[in-house]
């Protein structure tokens, strides 16, 4: 299969190894990988802040970039959920782009969803000896309905012990611009999430959205209780090296 990567704006700028590892894993699975030029961001930051016109132009850029792609895969449930749930309303008054948006919706997947549900390859042959816990990000879970896929990938990692995260369903308090617009509320939320991570007894916190992980790890770092935090892609990438 020819897979086009959606390098989300956050991973592109702050965690390029997540995108790079995603490319490596997909190649390892026998697919050809390309990264269409011109792609930047799904537009969610502006959309969720109420700046729909700005969001629409950013979304248009993304739609154009992937117009000729067969399949689009990104390392974030939140960005893919933005495309799936909100692009139709963004372009409701532009039939031409609405059509293109729907094409993108039908061919785009979050990484774990793609590997497990589409490729049906939950076992990547990875080894990683550690105790880990998994934070189910809100948009992946509630908007995309991703439940089992990431867990299936992790269950196949040899040596990995998965510990339950208390009150896992609680939002970590990131919420994109919420974290800087309502910093104190956001801090109270991430403080509780961080405590649950510590209580889980895990050495590694895993997730499928770098936004949430950046928030939780940034807080743990600040209070001097750093817990190693990895995107599932990063863990799989490390685990597949051995």
């Amino acid at each position: 299969m020819k897979v086009s990567l959606f390098a989300t704006c956050l991973t592109n700028a702050l965690y390029p190894d997540v995108d790079l590892t995603m490319a490596k894993i997909l190649k390892h699975l026998g697919h050809s990988v390309d990264v269409p030029e011109g792609q930047v961001c799904c537009g969610q930051i502006a959309f969720n802040s109420g700046y729909v016109d700005d969001a629409r132009e950013v979304a248009r850029t993304l739609i154009d970039a992937f117009e000729r792609s067969e399949v689009v895969v990104g390392p974030s449930g939140s960005c893919i959920a933005m495309i799936h749930h909100y692009y139709p309303t963004l372009f409701e008054k532009e039939p031409a782009y609405l059509k293109k948006a729907e094409d993108l919706i039908h061919k785009s997947y979050e990484f774990t969803q793609f590997v497990v549900d589409v490729l049906k390859q939950p076992d990547l042959g990875a080894h990683y000896k550690a105790k880990a816990t998994y934070h189910p990000s809100c948009h992946a879970t509630r908007l995309l309905g991703i439940g089992e896929a990431p867990l299936k990938l992790l269950q196949h990692v040899k040596g990995l012990e998965l510990l339950p995260l208390p009150e896992a369903q609680l939002c970590c308090g990131f919420g994109g611009t919420f974290s800087v617009k309502m910093p104190k509320i956001s801090e109270a939320m991430v403080a509780e999430k961080a405590q649950h991570v510590l209580d889980s007894g895990a050495d590694i916190l895993l997730g499928l959205d770098m936004g949430c992980l950046m928030n939780i790890s940034g807080y743990l770092e600040k209070i001097n209780k750093p817990v190693k935090t990895m995107h599932i892609i990063q863990l799989l990438g490390e685990g597949m090296k051995s």
Partner: protein, 471 residues
Amino acid sequence: MTMYNQTTDERVDKALANSFLRQATRRATDRLRNNKYKAADELGNWEEWRAAGEAIRKNVISNLDYYLNQLIEQMEKRGVHVHLAKTPADAVTVVRNIVREHNAKNVLKSKSMISEEIHLNHALEEDGVEVVETDLGEYIIQIASEPPSHIIVPAMHKTRQQVADLFEPIAGHALSSDTPTLTRFVRTQMREKFLRGDIGITGCNFAVASTGSIVMVTNEGNGRMVSTLPRVQITLMGMERIVPSFRELDILLNLLARSATGQRLSSYTTILTPPKNTADPDGPEEYHLVILDHNRSEILGDKLFRSSLNCIRCGACFNVCPVYRQLGGHAYGSVYSGPIGSVITPLLEKDWKKWGHLPYFSSLCGACSEACPVRIPLHDLLVKLRMRKTQSGHTPQVERQIFKAYRYFFTREKTLRRALRLGARLQWPFVRNQRITGGPPPLSNWTNSRTLPMVAPKPFMQLWADLKNKR
């Protein structure tokens, strides 16, 4: 009600500093939430129930004029006085006039969020009327002179000890803080007050249009006392609180009780078809129904927000909201707090200056939408409110500039690449141990409580291009 005069920041700070409040809120919402899960699972097909609930509410809201007419017709036929109040002030005037006309000195109230919405108690007290809240939670916050912090559990933020401390001056002696002692105390207080009541004021969970009946659900039975003892009764309802007939009522009562408290049915479901019949041994002889609009007609005509009128006021969205969980209700500053309060308050009150913060009291995690028994897409409505606020020019200039810049750079990948490389060079003054630990606002809002990873020396798009060139 001092908290109405504070700024949003002050209220948030105050809530976050109050560990009693936060602990009480967390404990109570967890309990309600877990009870709800059990009560919903028990039905086996909760999603079908939700869909049915949504369909019923949608039908009511789309045909509200028809059902309202039917309700009013049924009521007036039997001699009920129906009052349509356009504004909260109109509703207050209606009630005030009824109270004056009867020269009433003691008014009994069972729980009514509409009375909070129109700030009724204050107005009646100004007229020298004693207003008695007979719902335990409402009674507690009345003594504390606070607004409700939860639409179902108004005193959720209070611990038992705090309640005992509030009751002691009235009791005139020390009270232990165990639940039986506290409830016994209130029961004795209430008994006597019930007998003295001149007028009863109740809320309305549902009004059945086909029969002209008012449905109230309570867990203390106080609603029954308020609606049987006084000779005159006033019921306050929001104009959207209608069900077509008893068939739909059955479904909505299930959704309401299960979602609100995890009960199959509330302890008391009171259905009144007023006024008192000659054959009835008790009940009010004179009955007034006050139907409040307060911009609901406008919401009805607004297709973006119409679904907010589908709400059945169960409070399930409060009990799963991670923001409410940290703050309790008072930090919102509004009568209706929690996710649904953040949606409807700006729409009802139409004042961005005062209520413009509410749509941002959400991380948009979607837990509220998932919990709503009539499937209101609450977090989507919050985004739409942000959109409306933005489009009507009520967001700060700086914010508008930031998103203009965002649009510029995030539609030009190559330009963004250069900007990121510049950022990677400029970030050093803020870097400690390979992490960004400070910065100018609004970045400092993040770094005050968190660190950030460094901007990568090469963004992925550049890395990939370089790799491709090597090959």
